[in-house]
Each structure stands twice: as structure tokens, then as C-alpha cells.
Symmetry: C2
Amino acid sequence: MHYPSSRLWENPVTKVSPIDLVARLQRPARTRAGGVVIELEKQRSASDPGYVCPASGLALIDMAWIEELTYVRRRVKRGDALFLANDQFASIYALRNGFFKTVQGLEDGREQVTGFQMSGEIMGMDGIDTGRYGSTALALEDSDVCVLPYALVANHSNRNDELQRQFHKVMSREIVREHGVMMLLGTMNAGERLAMFLLDLSRRFSARGYSASDFVLRMSRGDIGSYLAMKLETVSRAFTSLHNLGIVHVDGRHVQILDFADLERHRGQTSRRDRD
Amino acid sequence: MHYPSSRLWENPVTKVSPIDLVARLQRPARTRAGGVVIELEKQRSASDPGYVCPASGLALIDMAWIEELTYVRRRVKRGDALFLANDQFASIYALRNGFFKTVQGLEDGREQVTGFQMSGEIMGMDGIDTGRYGSTALALEDSDVCVLPYALVANHSNRNDELQRQFHKVMSREIVREHGVMMLLGTMNAGERLAMFLLDLSRRFSARGYSASDFVLRMSRGDIGSYLAMKLETVSRAFTSLHNLGIVHVDGRHVQILDFADLERHRGQTSRRDRD
DNA sequence: CGGGGATTTGACACATATCAAGAGCGGTGG
DNA sequence: CCACCGCTCTTGATATGTGTCAAATCCCCG
């Protein structure tokens, strides 16, 4: 699979080009605490506030710490990649505004959506281990991202217990989320999976001040299916089923949850009779 | 589900009881850097080396850092729990010797194995976010575990870049692993899943100096099925299939991989004809 | 040596995949 | 403004992989 990447050529907010940044961060043979990062910090504290990623949209998610660390922002257009699987890892990314999916590929070409990210959520942590990203992050709508150079995060969290804690929590949360997905894929049928998916989206929209019961999906049926491990036709049928039961109103990508209690209940037992 | 827990009553290696340890770690209203942890460190540097977890068995896995942080070791008998889902989080655990599974539960009682851990691997990181473990860790054989109080890990990694990096890597690795499992569950059929599973085990045994091609499974067909999201009967049939194809020799829990190339290939396409 | 869980195997059911066709819908250009 | 294209989505008919239920055997552990 080949996606257009916004990687090295788009840098509307900062004066320092990402290329320089990456080059500096990767400059070898200097202790992290000593040279490189401090140098970056000096730049960061220069008088131009433009490259500081305002945390406004993120406050709800308890991520003021991101503000401290943002070195540069990046805009990613719908359909473009923030990073590609196998790219050299240098930064994690906090989504400030917009919507992403992360996609993981197999050698033989099969691929799967491993997550959807919305504002305040972090991408790229799967790159820390091997030094290369394990997945590709694709914008599902025009988005605005805070670039958090990993070296900076690491360095700051040495001296800021709260930041360290937040960072650990973010990674832990990702582990917990993935446990949940494994659970979903391992123990639930199609109807339950979709119900869980909608409830999860609802909760996350709600946490950001949007309606919990009325929202527009940013992803296609195929993406949902890939994430939930079912074919797009099955996703469509499951939507139709929920719609016919009067639990949600579905019109294309516009979803209205009509009965949360039923949807919650659905998330526990569904079977053939529901479709009739 | 109710499992016997080794939690508060088993502490054969250290002089400080886990109860005291936990109590101290949880003592509120003291900065982490200041009071509590330093206090622990003093104890740790006392003349009794017994409570330091020798890193011997872990060296291969690049985890010498664990040695520095181990405050106490714990023995967990087969079938007992190291920690239970919903237990108050205080420590992560490095498996020194033995074999574990981690199990996640749904409110309605359904549960799933989310991972198998062998020596050198870390458990409990899913507790950092919420302060409670998200899963239960059950010993599949008598095991020996290094207890790494989270406060200690956090404190040390403030002052030790390498340790910080290792810790981040371990969490990242867990995220990557879970992406892999999602992939497995989302895109592969039963035969492929089992092939992947066996190759994964093989690799991990091999990394610990055991045979890559001849090993004894510590877990039941049911556990494997739970992990791979298939019924135990299906696991059994998939084993039989691999056996009949001459790719692996299976005798109960004793597995010998006869043809790695075929097994790798199997991990890419399997279908009905393989069973005939 | 006995008992009970673990495993295997078979027959059948069912949830979901697959294949196929058509409908909706937004964008584009004549 | 309409026609057309390409996409996504829906719906139907059928195929199939895996689940379910059941029974027999194995074998581990007390």
C-alpha cells in the first residue's frame, strides 16, 4: 500500500523545518540530557509562540502537558499520512484537531485498522521499541497535529514527575484499550462489536463536548469492518439491524443513538432473532 | 471468576512483608521523589542481598535494569494469581522464572486470555493508567517473580536515562505485540492463527536458550483458544491438521516443529484442502 | 488404581464471508 | 442544469469456516 505522506514537506506553523529538527534529534553521540534537547529548548523559548501547540482543544482530556512539549505543529490533509509504518521513529504525535485511523500491514498485503484517533489522543507510541513506526497513521479529515519529539518527552519527564506520570498513563491507556479490542474481537459477535464501537465513539465525542447521541462517522464501512474484524457488508447489515430495532437511527454516516440502554444491552447479547 | 491469590500472604524471599511495602508505597501526601521511595532505597541497600532479584535468567532479554529495581521477589504457585483485575495497582512484575497467562474479564462473565508471559517479560502495566490492574495474572506453572514497585521505577527512571528508555520500550513493545494480536484476530483464519502462535512461542523459547523446535506447551487447548479467539475443539483440529500435514509433530502438549518453512508459509494462507 | 479434567473426533448448525447486483450520492464537466 | 462517473453503501442468495453438542479416549494427579 502506498499513501501520500505529509511527512517532510509540510510545516506551516514553525520556522524550523522538520527536516532540521529530525536531523538534530538524530545527531548521535551526545547525551540526551546534555546537548541536543537543551538546544531545542532554547529555540522553543524564543519569542515566537507560533510553534507552541495550543492545548485548548485538549484540555478536557487532561493533557496540558502536551503544551509544554510541542515543538512544532503539522497539518495533515485528509487522506495523507502522518507517518508510515517503517518510518524512522523520532516523535510521537498528539492529535489536536481532526480524525485519524492507524493501519497495520502484513507482509502479504493484508492490512487492518488498529485504531481511530480523535483530538487529544496520541499516535506513534508503537515506534519507541524498535525505532520504527509499526503502523501508518492516515488522516480521515483535514487535521492538525502536535509533534512531540520523543527525545524531548523523555528529557522533560526526567525533571517533571507529573509529565512522566502522564506519559506513562497514556501508554498504559493504549495497552488497556487494546486489551479491550482483543476482548471485542475474541468474545463478541458482529452486533455486539458494532454496539461497542458506537458506544465507544459516543463516549469519546461526548468527552470532547460533542453530542453523545448524534454524530457523523468519519470512516467508511470498510474501515469499521477492518477495525472490528468483519466484512463491510456485515457492518452494513449490523447497522441496518440496529436501525430496524429502533436503537439507533442510521443514515449513511450520520448516526443517532435513540436508546442507550438498549444499545448497552445489545453489547451483551445479540443473536439472529434481532435481525428479523 | 475467583482465583486463589498469592498476593498478601506469600513472601518467601524478603524480610519486608508485601503488606508493609504496599502500605508504605501507598502512604499519601508525600512527593515521590522525596520521602517514600528514598526510604525504600535505603532498605534495599541494606546488607541482605536476598531480596534483590538476580537478573541471571533475564539477561538475554536485555533487562539488566530490572535488577536495580527489584525490591522483593515473590513465588507464585501454579494456578495462583499474581494480581487480580481490579486490585489496587502498586507494582509491575518481571517474570523471572515460570509461565503466566493474563486474563481479562467482561462484566457478564465472559473472559479471554490476553497474553502468555515467559521469563523476562513484564506484567501489570495495564494498571498504571487507572490505578487498578485491568487483568488477572495467573501462574501456569510454579513461578518466580520480581516485584518492581511502580514508584521505584518512576523515580529511578528520572535519574537513569537508560532505565527510562528501557521502560518505555517495554511498554511500547506491549503495544506492538497487541497490534499483532489484533492483526491475528482480525485477518487470519484458525490455521494461520495457530501457526503464528507456535512460531511466536518458538521464537520466544529460542531467545531464552531453549529449543526453537521442540517444546512443551504450558497452557491448555482452552487457553490457546481463548487467546486466539477460537473454540478449544477448533484448536485441537488445527493441531491435528498441522500434524497430519507433517509440519509439526503434536503429542498432547508436546510440540515439535518439523518444517519451519512450511509453518511460516502456513502463516499466510490456509484453507480447507489442508485438512483433507 | 481410580477419577476427573483435557483432548480428540464426529455430525450438524449457524454466523459471517463471499459473490453479485443495484441504489444512493457527491463531484465534475459539458 | 443535467448527465455521467466513481465511489460507498445496501441488500439478496449462497457458500463455508467455525461453533455447538455429544461421545469416546487419554492421561495426569491424587
